[in-house]
Amino acid sequence: MALKGLDIFKLTPKKNCKDCGFPTCLAFSMKVAAGAVEISKCPHMSDEALAKLEEATAPLMRTVKFGKGDNEYSLGGETVLFRHEKTYVNRNRFAVMFTDAMTDEEIDKKINNIKKVNYVRIGEEMKVEIAAIKYEGDKDKYLNLVKKIKESDLEVTYMLVCEKPDIVKEALELLKDENPIIYGANKENYEEMVGLVKDNKFPLGLKADNLEGLYELVEKVQELNYKELLLGTEGESIKDTFTKTVQIRRTALKEEDRKFGYPSVVFVNELAGEDKFMTTALASLFTLRYGSIIVLNDIDYSIALPLFALRQNIFTDPQRPMTVEPDVYAVNDADENSPVLVTVDFALTYFIVSGEVERSKVPAWLAIPDAGGYSVLTAWAAGKLSGSTIANFIKESGVEEKTKCRKLIIPGKVAVLKGEIEDNLPDWEIIVGPDEAMHLPKFLKELNESIRAEAQGA
């Protein structure tokens, strides 16, 4: 929470020495409160005052980092409870659960599934980011499991789920360079667990039977001066887990109580078990309502496609749609014989359409007029994509020099614009494309055939 100028003033030495460049300590304090200068510009602040200030100005929810290299992620750091207030900062991350009670076959299958589900959507890599590895009682098998996953070529980070410090210690030997998460500090073992992670600042997941217990545990761990924490929301039921997850986030951001100002870990796998559709339902619930790490039992495309898409939507700027630069883009090495497709500058639409054109392997020009960053129908309904905007863009963008082909394909959803564009671009043949971009490959291949046939005929 932001400190007021007067609160900061109370911490200054009140010497009015002007070393900071301001006439008085009070004037300086007001500027600091407004965020205009750094507190470090006053060379006379006591360490104690600085510590107090840091504590008071720390964000309500801590940002916790884990993993390393390409697989380093940040969690938490959120400032609002609803995305329309301000962009959510750090997207939740998905984990798949492994345990030493699983057969080799099960383990291999999961490793394989994680490998298979790895794709790009709107410029972003979509994959399971974390292998959660749970200790169920067989130490040798557990350590072997950790080794096995590490030696597989999975691109993941690790979360050790284990409440036995001696076993965690051995497992950490295998993962010490990976900045893994250790989940399983409870009221009995927390001192030892903190001891294991403190030097390397590995994130530590705390768990307790209920919110009261969790709160006390956080207090105790904070007294040990450890703050790289995650909070487990394991509950007896779906409802209980939901309540815990919401309460933790709300206590931090609404009640401004930093005790709960940490990312959460939600074990959807415990709640949904093998039911993959229930997994999708619950993981969607916790993507919207404050899960930071969401642990799944397994992954396949039917779970991943909606879930990763939902997450990608939710963690976007609520003020400004993601856009692409209006221009004419060559796809599949378009040349002077390639047709032109028109779409809008909304990033989502652009990526979907360009992806499908690429998939068709048909060389084509993609013309993107300024459509206000809206989807096709939204832009049309808002008056940003009309027959004349399209026609003018075709004339002014220089695409008429880039290609001799005079076929212009418009989105099926704005078929009504055909007449108006024809009136404005008499040299062009206006073709209404399919409604959905997914039908573009078939459509373009057929079009390409007919263009070739025409060329041969002539």
Binding site: R83, E216, K239, F242, M278, A281, E436
Partner: protein, 314 residues
């Protein structure tokens, strides 16, 4: 210091709306808190789950559904009876796809007969969806509404373009419930409610449809619109936004690539049916989580999972 539950007191309450008649009538709304937040207050009636049927054969639906409905899909009355008996949703949504001018352009009179026969054949509440062509819907509803008088149906929807005709012809003249459809914007939702109320439609006869999209397809706008509408009610008691919300999820989720792509085109994606169900479930779970009081689903599996979801959380 000890932990204390964070509790948010509410100033407003979602209007309760009843749909259908008799034992199987449903009530939606009634909550004064964000869905499932019973630590804050009254969570009202549980979200209701409907199943979509069409007035025409479901040509472009997945094969398994065509198989499931193979004996009934040519006849909306049999289809509705089958759904009531075998699939057991909270309500049935009969969608007049065949009335669409771009499809068969069936006449309002013909549709009225179908609607009447369906309403009489089932005891579940009936939601009637039009074509999304505002002009046609006004004409369609004008004939369908009297034909199903007494069944207390919900009509989807009145829009800014046709609210006068639809409001008068459905809610005022024949005592049905009215969906008010706006385009993912809190102010548009509010404005349409105000216009309908000014026309004389009672608040308790209106259900909002504030927009619809599949996850991944501009869905964040829908989430934020619903969040804002609910917070305006709970924090400021904005009575012009106190109507419950219905979202015809299946109308969108089965049209996106994730649900439509053929297994031969994207073999790595696996079963098309599973993808379709999962897109439907994720979208339904998400809109219910932010504040939708009723959703329309297509696949019985989605219904089964969403029933469990709702009963666990509500």
């Amino acid at each position: 210091m000890a932990f204390k539950m964070s509790v948010q007191k509410s100033k407003g309450k979602v209007q309760e709306v009843e749909i259908g008649k008799g034992e199987k009538a449903i009530k939606i709304g009634g909550e004064n808190v964000i869905p499932f937040y019973d630590f804050d207050g009254d969570i009202g009636n549980s979200p209701k789950l409907g199943i979509e049927i069409l007035d025409v054969y479901p040509e472009d639906w997945v094969d398994s559904l065509k198989e499931l409905y193979k004996d009934v899909a040519d006849n909306p009355v049999e289809w509705a009876k089958f759904v009531e008996k075998e699939i057991k949703p909270d309500f049935i949504c009969l969608r007049f796809k065949g009335a669409d001018p771009n499809e068969l352009d069936k006449s309002p009179e013909e549709c009225a007969e179908v609607a009447k026969a369906v309403a009489e054949a089932i005891s579940l509440p009936l939601v009637i969806a039009g074509t999304n062509n505002h002009e046609k819907d006004a004409k369609l509803f004008e004939k369908v509404a009297p034909a199903v008088q007494g069944h207390n149906c919900l009509f989807l929807s009145a829009t800014e373009e046709n609210y006068k005709a639809v409001g008068a012809g459905v809610a005022l003249a024949y005592d049905h419930k009215l969906g008010a459809e706006s385009s993912v914007d809190i102010n548009l939702a509010k404005q349409l409610n105000v216009l309908l109320t000014q026309l004389g439609v009672k608040g308790e006869d209106i259900v909002m449809n504030v927009g619809n999209s599949a996850v991944g397809y501009g869905f964040e706008y829908l989430v934020s619109t619903v969040d804002r509408i609910r917070l305006a009610l709970f924090n400021q008691n904005d009575k012009t936004l106190q109507m419950p919300i219905i979202t015809p999820v299946s109308f969108e989720t089965w049209n996106v690539k994730e649900s439509m792509a053929d297994e031969n085109d994207v073999p790595e994606w696996g079963s098309r049916e599973d993808r379709g169900i999962s897109m439907e479930i994720s979208t339904a779970a998400s809109v219910i989580t932010v504040g939708s009081n009723a959703v329309v689903l297509r696949h019985p599996k989605s219904l089964e999972v969403m029933k469990k979801f709702v009963s666990e959380l509500h």
